[in-house]
Symmetry: C2
Subunit: 331 residues, 2 copies
């Protein structure tokens, strides 16, 4: 190991030009004499040259790295988000750094401080940071928020409405009159959005809807809701996310309640594994990979933006994926 890498000086010597010419040939193609440029490229190839990104970053101040902060790397909701983000970043010559905050706002703030000097901008998956902390970060480097809206900060949020409208219509067509929503984190923008939309559409469809929980947005949180769900008398329930839906489905079945005959369950997200259950979980699909990719695009857009315009995105839409956990309400 430790073969020393070639520099622009090595290339300059080999090609018989000045190092600054090499720099120009490599970084601003078309701006210099074509023959010279070709010579430089040939020499670069011969020496297997790759620019030292650190040396490049110093004068420009641009690192070509972006950070994606997630609260829990092992939460399957993030897998596709990370993949989408990584892909778009790579396509644009950026390197993605994914950092985990382990569900603690203190760790998250520290991690952010550690990573911020290294990157050109940061994308927050779910975050426990306060609006103030987000504004502070946004003052240093461009920020894009996923599933959260903060005044003056770019965001990418999905449009939950189509999926919820479809889910309500689906349940209504199956004869459900009284349904529930198993809530997740109360401080979360997306939890509130889903609940508000569900109320709106359920009422419009002539159904009643009650809030259950809120519980932890995990398999355990779903499992812990069994008694409350049963007590509520609902014939169908939509859960804040699939993790809760899966936990509820398994716990309810273990308690001898038949899914979907006695209780229909609809999850949210369509995470990996949500079709492993018996029955497989009906769910409202989130375009997770697109969201990750578009978060990167939004960040790149702020890099370009002359004015301080911040993109807001909800091109992403949601839709119902009917599997086995929903059926006709008992007469």
């Amino acid at each position: 190991m430790n073969e020393k890498a070639a520099t622009i000086y090595d290339i300059a010597k080999l090609a018989g030009v000045n190092p600054s010419t090499v720099s120009r040939a490599l970084s601003t193609p078309g701006r210099i004499n074509a023959a010279t440029e070709a010579k430089v490229h040939a020499a670069a190839k011969e020496l297997n040259y790759r620019a030292n990104p650190f040396a490049r970053a110093l004068p420009t101040g641009k690192t070509r790295m972006i950070a994606l902060m997630v609260s829990d790397i092992t939460n399957p909701v993030f897998f596709k988000v990370v993949r989408g983000a990584e892909k778009v970043a790579a396509e644009n010559g950026y390197t993605l750094v994914v950092a985990e905050s382990i569900e603690s706002s203190k760790v998250e703030a520290e991690t952010l401080q550690r990573i911020l000097p290294s990157v050109d901008g940061v994308i927050f998956g779910t975050t426990r940071l306060s609006d103030d902390e987000i504004h502070q970060a946004n003052r240093e480097k461009p920020v894009v928020l996923i599933n959260r809206i903060v005044e003056g900060v770019a965001d990418v949020v999905p449009d939950n409405e189509p999926g919820i409208a479809q889910a309500v219509a689906h349940l209504a067509s199956l004869g459900h009159k009284h349904i529930g929503f198993l809530g997740g984190p109360t401080a979360s923008w997306i939890n509130a959005d889903r609940w508000n939309l569900l109320m709106k559409h359920a009422v419009e469809a002539g159904m009643t809807v009650v809030s259950i929980g809120p519980n932890l947005p995990t398999v355990e949180g779903g499992r812990d809701a069994v008694d409350e769900v049963r007590a509520s008398g609902v014939s169908a329930i939509i859960t804040y996310n699939d993790l809760m839906g899966i936990g509820l489905l398994r716990a309810v079945s273990a308690a001898g309640i038949k899914v979907p005959e006695e209780l229909s369950i609809v999850g949210f997200d369509n995470i990996f594994g949500s079709d492993f259950t018996s029955p497989p979980l009906t769910t409202i699909e989130m375009p997770l990979e697109r969201i990750g990719g578009n978060a990167v695009r939004a960040l790149l857009a702020t890099f370009e933006a002359q004015d301080g315009t911040v993109p807001h995105g909800s091109e992403e839409t949601t839709s119902l994926l009917v599997r086995g956990s929903t059926t006709k309400a008992k007469a």
Copy 2:
């Protein structure tokens, strides 16, 4: 955004010392006058100073970043590996870059070239690179391999034997006489290791064992094995990984074969979701998070190593996790 960050020159001015003194105070604590050091630290704190990692990397050649290359970021096998690696990296002041090669050796080679100049070393999760390509990378920067052994290159591999021995003993105690192994990637070190160990232990236990497949190491690969499994007449099967185990379990159930009464299934890895199936999958657990963490430790060790010693690790062990997909062989 774009508040310009403080530099050591700002600190030097504020503290009334030379910039080089600031540098020393910050990077080699204890090497200078305690009072001076305190003054510098106070000034640094006041200015909210954070060292520019790029400026630091230029003279030292050390980036304090390490890369983890995985073939598929959405493969749940990697979740805990990534988490373990991220954690140990952060503890040691390193930033982890995770890169995805999208299951293509060409993409992987390109990604590697792109990332290599930015990092101090690289960890390969599964890799499609040839031994030669790995040696080439290892010549430029230290390399650690997970689940693969290449002469002269550091590695972290789990000891598959305890888990397999336990699984065989478990199946033997349930009266199984004739079992199968559903194979994954034939070029994979770990696939071969698991198969060889299974043969050894099955034979010692007086069982016969046959190889089925190989198939893709995915849910689909498991599903596609139904006919071959059924034709083989085995009463129990161990799959290369959980993904295949889950696919097989679901497909076999759909085909009307009862699991575990008519076919016992044992997976490998204990991935997220392997307990979502009905019945939940019995599996051989891999210490994935430890493996990720130890891969980082091995890499850091090579940074220290004066001689070119490369660590080989199989401290990690495996063990059987009995859930619901195994039971007594039919009489």
